[in-house]
Amino acid sequence: MRSRSALLTVVVVVALLAGGGWVLQHQAGPKQARALDGADSVGGADDAPSGAWYCPHGGGKGWTGQVAITNPGDTDVTVRVASMSHRGLQPATTLTVRAHSRTEVDVPAGQREASTEIEYFGGWVAAGWVVSAPGTPAGAPSPGPASPTPEPTGTGGGTGESGSPSQPAVEEGVGADPCANGAGRTWYLPDGSTIQGQEDYVIVMNPFASEASFQVSFVAEARVVAAPGEITVPGGQSVAIHANKDDLGDQTVAAVVTAGIGRVVAASLGIDDAGGVRSDIGVPTLVGDPVIPGAGDAGGTEIPFLNPSKSGITYGVDFLGADGRHLALPHTQKVGPNASRTETLTATGPGAVSLVASGGAKVAAARRTLGIRGDEGSTTAFAPAHAWLLTSPATDNSDSTEVALANTGASPVTVTLTGITDAGPLASAPVTVTVPPDSSVPSPAGFLEGTALASVLAVSDGGPFTAVMTATSKTRSAYAVGAGVPIPPQWVPAG
């Protein structure tokens, strides 16, 4: 090989390296990594579906609590239910929730910070809580089942409780909401008020073995009050923070829980000393243009919301009825950065409220309503989904329940509602409801008549929608609203 041919070879090599290298690097690129063993396994030996629900439902002296666990799937699911308070984690109860059925488990609710952890294995279940204040004076015998945990003395919370429980003389009402399906570092709790006659609590549970440390900021309309210092919760315990201790006299006291160490779950518990209990799970993420359906209420609606961002927003409120969207509050309202606000409006008939923020700003919002027999109900806003499982907020099968559906999409959605009772799916055929665009429609009258405790599986055949379930007691002042939980796509029952 002479120099010339050697040079030619080098030129070819350089060209190959440069061209080939460019093609490999920029056209081919690194190959997608191989699938891990068992990555595609569904239903086989490698399939180990499991999850957990965290229910920081709270409670009070003489209160009773239930968690309802609903299995919409085709296989039985094993669940493990354990209660916790500031005294730690109680021994777990293991039970099986049969396919297409629900189970109700009594849980201790005798303490403000009472919380429940539900682990499930082998399928997917939804869980929600119902806590009930009996309406008896403090100290009077509780009408409900005996609480296995001692009643609180002195301060009602665990480590870090910043306020005295100062329970009102009479606590009456029902609070309900779905449990949270995961712990996190940030929780937004938009529904809180510390005006006279309102007691507001933040219930924080730490379901892990290691201690968690968090801060609570109470965001009122014009100020932010941080609860003093970091609050530490040992592993397997929960605490209740009394907002009135730090912020008194504000119509809106939203709370932001930020965990510096570990992960927690938070909910708000509001008690009206005139009678009324509201219980809302916190939301870990903000929602744009939140829509919250409602039904069975007395007409008055309050929309507390929180803007935790660093810039103010302009917003308005629309009302979505069966006949479409109506302006309820001009879209020129303003709220400052890191501030909260409560908007009040009177709705005529069932419908959804929609908080419309300019620029797609995201907020944490709730809807607070009053039952026709008294008692308050509220629920937080979630993003629309294609399938929901609604756990009944009723305390008795004789209660009156309604499912409210809202569709903010441009096309109508047809939603199939299936009741799921302890004994399995309702004998009656599933109900199909069509929700027009920008509308809210309640479930047909008589749906769940006599089976108010039944959970409802709501599945859309098209676009996403929002759903809540309300319950009104026929015998006492008890009204509750509970949002549904979105069903993960792989667990949406076929057909």
């Binding site: 990594a33 891990l36 490698d46 180990a48 892990f208």
Partner: protein, 1036 residues
Amino acid sequence: MAHASTTTAQPDATETRRKEPSVLVVLVAHDGLPWLRECLRSLSRQTHPRLGIVAVDNASDDGSRDLLEQALGPDRVIALPRNAGLPGAVQAGLKVDAAERADYLLILHDDTALDPEAVARMVEAAERVDGVGVVGPKVLDWEDPRVLREVGQSTDGFGYPYSPLEEDEIDHGQYDRVREVLFVSSAAMLVSRAAWKRAGVPDERLDPYLEDLDFCWRARLAGFRVLMSPQAKARHRSAAIRGERRDGVRVDRQRLYAERASLAAMLKNYGLLTLLWILPLYTVQALGKTVVWAVTRRFEEAWQVVVALLWNVAHLPGTIRRRIRAQAVRSVPDRAVRRYMAPAGLRLRRWADTAGALFRRTEEPALDEERPVDEQEELVLPTLGARTMSLARAHPVATAWAAFAVLAFLAYRPLWGHAPLTGGALPSFPAAPTGFFHEFLSGYRTTVLGGADPASPALGMLGLTSAVTFASTAVAQKLLLMALPPLAARAMYRLVLRRTNERIPAVAAGAVYGLSATVLWALSEGRIAALAALVVLPSLVDRLERGFSPNRPGRPLRFLVDAGLVLAVGLAFFPGVILAFALFAVACLLVPSRRGEARGVGIVAGAVVVGLALAFPMVLASFGGPGPALHSTAGRADFASLVRLSPGPATGSWSVAWFVPVAALVSFTLADRERRRTGLRLLLVSVAGVTLAWLSAAGYLSAPLSNPTAYLAAAAVADCALIGLGVTAAIEMGRRAFGYRQLAGIGVSALVAGGLVLQAVEAATGGWAIGTNQESPSWPLVASADPGSDFRVLWLGGPSGDPFPAPGGDAITEGSASGITLRYTVTDRNGASALDTGRGFTGDGYRYLERSLSQILSGNTTHGGALLGPLGVEFLVAGDGDLPREARLRLDAQVDMDLVPTSGLVIYRNERVYPQAGATSQRDFAAASGSTDLLPVATLPKFDGSTLPPVAGGFQGDSPGGVALLARQFDGAWRLRSGGHDLLPARSFGWATRFRAPPGPVQITYAGQGTRDLEVALLAALWLAALWITRKPVRR
């Protein structure tokens, strides 16, 4: 200096009139007939007037005795019945009556011929200088009297002889002055009567080597001077050293004789205080020397050192007796003797003196002022730079080592000090060398997920290295990191030297290789195994090229075994080296030599067979399950980076590193006809190596073929060898007409020189991933957790070719689930371990780990802790920002894993971890462990049982009754002993080991150790045989 001149008294009339001293010559003969006649003739011509001769024949059978008797008469010949050596012969000679009357004794070898004036001059020197006990002549070569052979000798502090003479130094009077020295040769040694009476006779045990050192040392202790008189000349045949006597000194045992005599002389002649400090130093250097020789396969020399030590131990009583005698006549302190010894580092100083002399000449032109102007112009001396180049050209290897010493001093600064090294991908070493040996001998794997795959022979080597570095594994670790890069450079030097026979190109190639981005990357990240591969690969290529060359290698069996041995060393440390070897072999087949393909194929096949045989347990294991780790995940899929030989970010991987491939390409165009095929092969390997490295890193090659480091190492070797060829061609350019080749040659030289300088500066000033305290500040949260208990750590990160944060080491593999791609590895609590050198991470346990990870990443489960519990994984660790966001969310969702508050690392602690060995009565565990399904595992509650702590050979503790779980990959050789019965194991969780465990004390033992013992014995025999076959001959 070792030699001192002595002043001589001026002769006066009184002295010249004085009666001449008598000299008795003791001529020691032993089969020296070829030279004896000349010796006798020289004696007969001596001018000294009073000379007596007695010959002692040491049982010669070549006619020497007859000649002596003819020449001297039978009365003056003492015939010894057996060879008593020189000391014995001298002692016999001293028994004659004349010895009692002689003033001087002249010990003379039968292969020494004296000048006529020699005796007279030696006597004259002895008489004129006060206190002289011993005088020796200037010794010249027997055949060429212009060549100096001895002008008096010295030793270093350890008694090793040192001569000021260069090899074949010509005598032009440079040593013509009376010199006071430590000792003179017994070839012709004049000893005063007082000296032998006081110091005694030569030690007969030290025959046949350096008995003269011991004798002269004793004479000096007794207060006598030892002189070399240049006026006295002698020619010496050195027949014994040349091996010319029929049953004389065994030439190949000179080291033994020298070592034993040196040590014996030290023990006898040094004072106690001196011995106290010099003996430990001697021991260290002897040990180091032995190790170096053993490592370089100079076994016979290493063995001779050991035998010499043993000889001295065995002869200690005799040495002590002689010591008492020697010390009894001591009249001077040790320091008076040590003045005549050579200082430490003499060789280095001599080289520096040579260099200094060259530079000092710059001052000499001052003398030119006295010269005519024309002459001054003619005598203009080279510039300093030119002299530097001249020095470097004259001593390229020494210059390279000196440059390396300076560079190493700067670049290795993070490695100095006593603090242990961490960082990069550096594997942790066990606390003691026994850790390596235990693992090597163990029948089961004690690391990570266990199993029965055997340990690599590399552990034996690491253990030995640790043992000889003061039994400190930390020192061994640093030593390896510091020594392997220069060794790699040296291997490249030898490869190119053998191809070109030119030292400068070989040095250049070695330096480029040592400073290549690949080597610096491996050093920076503490990749000892990769560095070992980088050392081995040039040696392998050298053997491969020789195998395929037209010339048949001499001693084919030795060559084959040697190649196999080198391959086995590479396989032991870095099994992927076989991929690089295969790449070169394929290149040799594609571009064959004119002759030798068939032989080359045979040699490659033979070498592979030998190499595999020397690692046969690993090979056998690979057929039945877990095998050696051919593949590696280290290295980024960055083509431009790989072309410049950098697998990842590290010091030296900057843009300057482009000089290597560029210079290699230009060098290829310079290859002449002789080396063109070699050049083409190297070019092929270079291009293929880089491409395969990228394909490996990018995940296109199957796991057993995927090893970016191995392919890049091949490319680095090829590039540097090409550069060697190019520099050779550049040096040879001067003989050809000016043209492209000259320009290209200049270009290559400039590229290499500039690149080397910049790479060296970068290496000297850049930072290394390894060093002291290179771990994340958060790591102690894991390292110090649960003291005394064993647990495992699962390391996670996004897809990349980088190691995990220290001490996580490299990923086992990459994989994806639900669109989330992760790389992961699992380690023991101390992180990546050197005990896993050369071993893979495969088996059912790793499959179980993947299944569990899939469930976690897919979001299907929130009980990842329970799934990882059987693996003993207590912590999940990821680098801050290294974990994909989706993966982080999935992990956050796990209900049984606590997020530990840290910075720098993301750490989750598993609430549901089990002990590595434990027993429990929980029924859920008995049921779930019997299944391969994950769901029952996910439902398991927290482990509530007893831990079975590890003991020698297994685990032991109390069982509550139920099931005993061993978090090690299943092996049927495990047994649970309870109540005197051995219970057989069953698989747990589809991969681990479990037993039915009755209540009470239980012991889990391994019953398969015997097989491993046999394997190790056979392996040891094979290695010893291979080492013996490939041993290097003794240097003369």
